[in-house]
């Protein structure tokens, strides 16, 4: 099995896994009872999903600069989603409306 | 049934939806949202024309793309001015309604410019 076929299989498996995790996170968003649990489902599942999709896409792009750009995007999304879920959590902890 | 035609039908639908909401919705903030939906639908229509003009190795005709870039920025500035007017009206009267039935007399008597 050549390296190209192996990388193709890696891409397909990783992106499918990532898509499944995003789907799971969305199901959690729709089905969980209140905002804190939804936040938990969203951040955990979406971060794993994003990581898997990035791993699946890395073999597809030209090394090094395009791959580095993908990794920078990954880190930025991680930081932004971490901060925004912290902000939402803090607001709820202080007693904002829990809708 | 190719990609530009499908997105062109989507753009036509967006224009109709935006115009309907612009006419029917009484709240000005929702009217501003509808105006933006309508404008983005029109820009998507331009994009369909741009894509169909792909030639000489380019993926799309660049002239409609430049028009849309200009349009997006101008549309944003119109939205910003509309929102500033909306917020000023809210600060003065306590409500964003444009009709006479919501004028609050206590606020309209302020000695303010």
């Amino acid at each position: 099995m050549s390296i190209a076929v192996a990388l193709n299989i890696l891409t397909i498996v990783a992106v499918s896994g990532g898509a499944f995790f995003f789907l799971a996170g969305t199901v959690g968003l729709l089905r969980f009872p209140d905002t804190l649990t939804r936040l938990h489902a969203l951040t955990k599942a979406d971060n794993v999903g994003l990581g898997l999709i990035m791993i699946g896409l890395l073999p597809r792009v030209a090394w090094p600069f395009d791959a580095l750009k993908l990794i920078v995007v990954w880190v930025l999304v991680l930081v932004a989603s971490a901060v925004s879920s912290q902000l939402i959590g803090r607001k709820l902890w202080r007693g904002g409306d829990g809708s | 049934m190719n990609v530009p035609t499908i997105l062109g039908i989507c753009a036509a639908g967006l224009i109709g939806l935006g115009l309907f909401s612009l006419i029917v919705e009484p709240q000005p903030l929702r009217k501003i949202l509808a105006f933006n939906v309508l404008g983005n639908g029109v820009f998507l229509f331009f994009g369909v024309v741009a894509r169909r003009g792909a030639a000489v190795g380019l993926f799309g005709d660049p002239i409609p793309q430049a028009l849309v870039i200009t349009g997006i920025v101008v549309g944003f500035s119109a939205t910003a001015l509309a929102v500033a007017l909306l917020l000023r009206l809210f600060d003065e009267t306590g409500s964003t309604s444009l009709g006479d039935d919501a004028q609050k007399e206590s606020k309209s008597e302020r000695a303010d410019s």
């Binding site: - | 753009a11 000489v56 993926f59 920025v73 549309g75 410019s113």
Partner: protein, 315 residues
């Protein structure tokens, strides 16, 4: 039906569904959030149409900065009651409006299906003079060389909108600082995010503007990212909004138009006419104009979100 067509159908249906939710939902906050999602899905649609410059500008301006503006507005008018409004038109009014919009949409669908084949295009003309401008990206060439007058007038429109927003301030606040409408005390995570994101964002904005000469990008996308970073810095309380009356701010805002006009007038004497570039010097002049434009656009978009000057609750 290939995968590409299937993806476009799914994307088109998704965009329509989000638009229907935006205009149909009763909660204004949900409508604004759905509008931001709509902007991001639209930039996916632009990529599907192979227009990356427009996709970048739509994601930055349409999704990002407009979203910030509308969320700010929605938070401030949250306290009003919907009972203040006269009811939306009766069924006959809605029916007639619906019929009008249905007719309009059907007409546009017919136009899309009946568009001429082969499609008329200006792409050959656009690429013919591309080497003379020294640019590699035809969209940038259209914006900065072929239709430079439109771009300059658009900058003027931006500045006029900003003057309009400023003029809504009370007389006693004229010359003061814009307040974004009394922002709450920033949380520590937001300050952390801003400290991490600001350098990256500035580099990203400058990179987008610089690479727009030969690849997708350009002054508008770069300027929009710079303005987004500036707004984030204000939200985090790490910097104070400059006063409306300060000379430095006014110079930064107008430097784009001034340099554009200067290049245009210089073109009368040195080249064919107004806004014509002398042969061989086109690329350097375009780059200088774009630098000034990116700065002005970043400042103007940020200040448009900030709103008119008002009184600040902070001491």
């Amino acid at each position: 039906m290939t995968i590409g067509v299937g993806f476009s159908i799914a994307l088109g249906l998704l965009i329509l569904a989000v638009a229907v939710f935006t205009i149909g939902t009763r909660d204004s906050f949900a409508a604004v959030v759905a509008f931001v999602v709509y902007g991001l899905l639209l930039s996916l649609g632009w990529m599907n149409l192979y227009c990356p410059d427009v996709a970048l500008t739509e994601a930055a301006v349409g999704g990002g900065v407009t979203g910030a503006l509308l969320l700010n507005a929605c938070a401030r008018v949250r306290s009003e009651k919907t009972s203040d409004f006269k009811k939306s038109p009766r069924w006959i009014g809605r029916g007639m409006a619906g019929l009008l919009c249905l007719a309009l949409s059907s007409g546009l669908v017919a136009v899309v299906i009946l568009l001429p084949n082969p499609a008329p295009t200006l792409a050959p003309e656009a690429t013919r003079s591309l080497s003379a401008t020294g640019l590699g990206n035809p969209v940038t060439a259209v914006l900065m060389a072929y239709r430079a007058l439109d771009t300059m007038l658009e900058k003027v429109v931006l500045l006029l909108a900003l003057v309009g927003v400023w003029s809504l301030a009370s007389d006693r606040f004229w010359g003061g600082r814009a307040t974004f409408g009394h922002l709450p005390e920033p949380d520590r995570p937001l300050i952390f995010l801003t400290r991490v994101l600001a350098p990256v964002g500035i580099i990203a904005g400058i990179y987008l503007f610089w690479v727009g000469a030969d690849a997708p990008g350009g002054a508008f996308a770069g300027g929009a990212i710079l303005s987004a970073i500036w707004i984030l810095v204000f939200f985090a309380g790490l910097s104070v909004v400059p006063a409306v009356g300060s000379l430095g701010l006014r110079i930064v805002l107008s430097v784009g138009i001034i340099i554009f006009l200067a290049a245009g007038v210089a073109g009368i004497s040195m080249a064919a006419g107004f806004l014509a570039y002398p042969a061989g010097f086109a690329k350097p002049i375009i780059v200088v104009i774009e630098v000034a434009m990116t700065l002005s656009i970043g400042a103007t978009l940020g200040l448009l979100v900030a709103g008119p000057p008002g009184e600040s609750l902070k001491p």
